[in-house]
């Protein structure tokens, strides 16, 4: 079910501005890969190219290849909508749909894609909420608005919503940066459970978090503002944090950066 991702020679543009240059890497299935690096180095941008969300931004385009189990996501005949059903995403700020109840939020991906069978939807809602460790907290108020939950609960609701469509890969763009430490812990535990079934890629500014949750870590950097960001190195998390190959990585990890 979980799939591997191979990126080769990826250049990412915003209009004429080259934001990221020459990224090549392999993301292992059933493992957590963390993207770390300073602000503006393009780690979120790279993440968004993995499910073709980058092109939603006006002027956003990509050169190079992103292979999902050998299939190029940017081939001409590939439908971006189909890609996004296979590669789910969780965003930095919790963003439940404000007009929908908790139940409808979780079921949104299926419902909006035409699934009407109520028994099936209820089953998926329960399974996804349990998968996101939220079931016990919300099972008595599934018909209350999703926006009424706390920030941490909302983020787990968004994770439940993302896994309800049964993606193969889960992308997380700084999923804990708007949350308190307790909620962050809940999400990190959840990531540990989810990696048994999904390929997970997480962008984080928190190096301890990268060290705690990830199996491999990719360090991105940029030479100067206005220059494109680059992948400096990708290796197992213990190698990156204990004995990185590149000096720039060591400087960043140890806080001697810049």
């Amino acid at each position: 079910m979980a799939k591997r991702i191979d990126v080769s020679d990826l250049d990412i543009f915003y209009g004429s501005f080259k934001a990221v240059e020459g990224v090549s890497m392999s993301i292992e299935p059933r493992a957590v890969t963390a993207f770390i690096g300073p602000s503006g180095c393009g780690k979120s941008t790279v993440l968004r190219t993995l499910n073709r969300m980058h092109e939603v931004i006006p002027g956003g385009r990509v050169e190079g290849k992103v292979l999902l189990d050998g299939q190029d996501l940017y081939a001409k005949d590939v439908d971006p909508v189909g890609v996004r059903r296979t590669v789910g995403m969780v965003f930095q700020r919790p963003n439940p749909f404000p007009t929908m109840t908790i139940r409808d939020n979780v079921a949104a991906g299926l419902k909006l894609n035409g699934v009407k069978n109520k028994a099936r939807l209820d089953e998926v809602v329960e399974k996804s909420l349990k998968g996101a460790n939220l079931w016990n907290e919300v099972k008595d108020r599934l018909d209350k608005p999703g926006a009424g939950l706390s920030g941490g609960q909302q983020q787990r609701l968004c994770i439940a919503r993302a896994i309800a469509v049964e993606p193969q890969v889960l992308l997380m763009d700084e999923p804990c940066s708007a949350l308190d430490p307790i909620s962050t812990l809940a999400i990190e535990d959840l990531i540990n459970e989810l990696k048994e079934r999904y390929t997970i890629v997480i962008v984080t500014h928190n190096m301890q978090q990268a060290a705690r949750v990830s199996d491999q870590t990719a360090f991105f950097n940029l030479k100067a503002t206005g220059q494109p960001g680059k992948l400096v190195e990708l290796d197992s998390t213990s190698k990156i944090f204990n004995n990185p190959t590149e000096k720039a990585t060591e400087d960043y990890i140890s806080g001697r950066f810049g």
């Binding site: 499910n51 006006p58 909508v81 965003f91 007009t99 894609n113 919503r161």
Partner: protein, 306 residues
Amino acid sequence: MTAITNGLPRDRMLSEPRDLDLRGKSGSRALKNSVATAVMWAAFAIAVIPLVWILLTVAVKGGHLILDSTWWTNSQQGITARREGGGAVHAIQGTLIQGLVTALISVPIGVLTAVYLVEYGRGRFARIVSFMVDILTGVPSIVAGLFIYAVFITTFGFTRAGIFVCLSLTLLMIPVVVRSTEEMLKLVPNELREAAYALGVPKWKTIFSVVLPTAFSGIITGVLLGLARVMGETAPLLILGPYTKAIATDLFGGNMATLPTMINQDRDQAVTLPAYDRIWAAALTLILLILLLNLLGRLAGRFSKV
């Protein structure tokens, strides 16, 4: 001015320097503040006085008629300018029917135009559409009425009817709906669109199932305010919608009464007291109708999700 004398005497400040003195007010600053406050209150009063005056006059002169139940149940059929009695139900019905049909035509066009401008519109064509909406906003109502007259009555040879009034009001209402809907759609956070895209929901479905429901109450507010604006229009009605004293609900043929044309009709014959009273009562009825729409619009705005 106490504010000025409260200030510290200059010589004392010079002779006895303190570390920090927060007592008293600076004289000129306090004066400027009072003047500015007075100017603002005066401007407010100037703006509100005519409004209150109109409302009071209309209520006092027309109030007794609309408190009578026949005003809301009878038409003016068989009533002459010299006779008292009769009601305005024919005109109220006409105004409501024409308003409803106008809304039915303008809301889909206006909302979809706004969706195009916010969600799809890029480049030259979107700029042209936006510019056209701006132009339409500035079209005087009599020009809209004459335009419809020129196209349908003069060119195609139809006779004047309620539906043409609706068409001309549509021209006036569309830009209001487009602009208000556009503002509401822009308020919907982009994150919600991205959340839907990331679930593999196609763009059109995202717009109809996530963006429009989120902005729904705001759009309703805009529609009701737009409707309130066109229901008080008179010029296109004078050109395209001849008045009748009887109840008439056929938009496609014959005369049809509305509140503005009823006011105009009675004004023509206002040599007599009964007709004179009916002008004020019809005016009051129209104001109340529009006030009601405005209140409904504000109420809908309270349930806004954005």
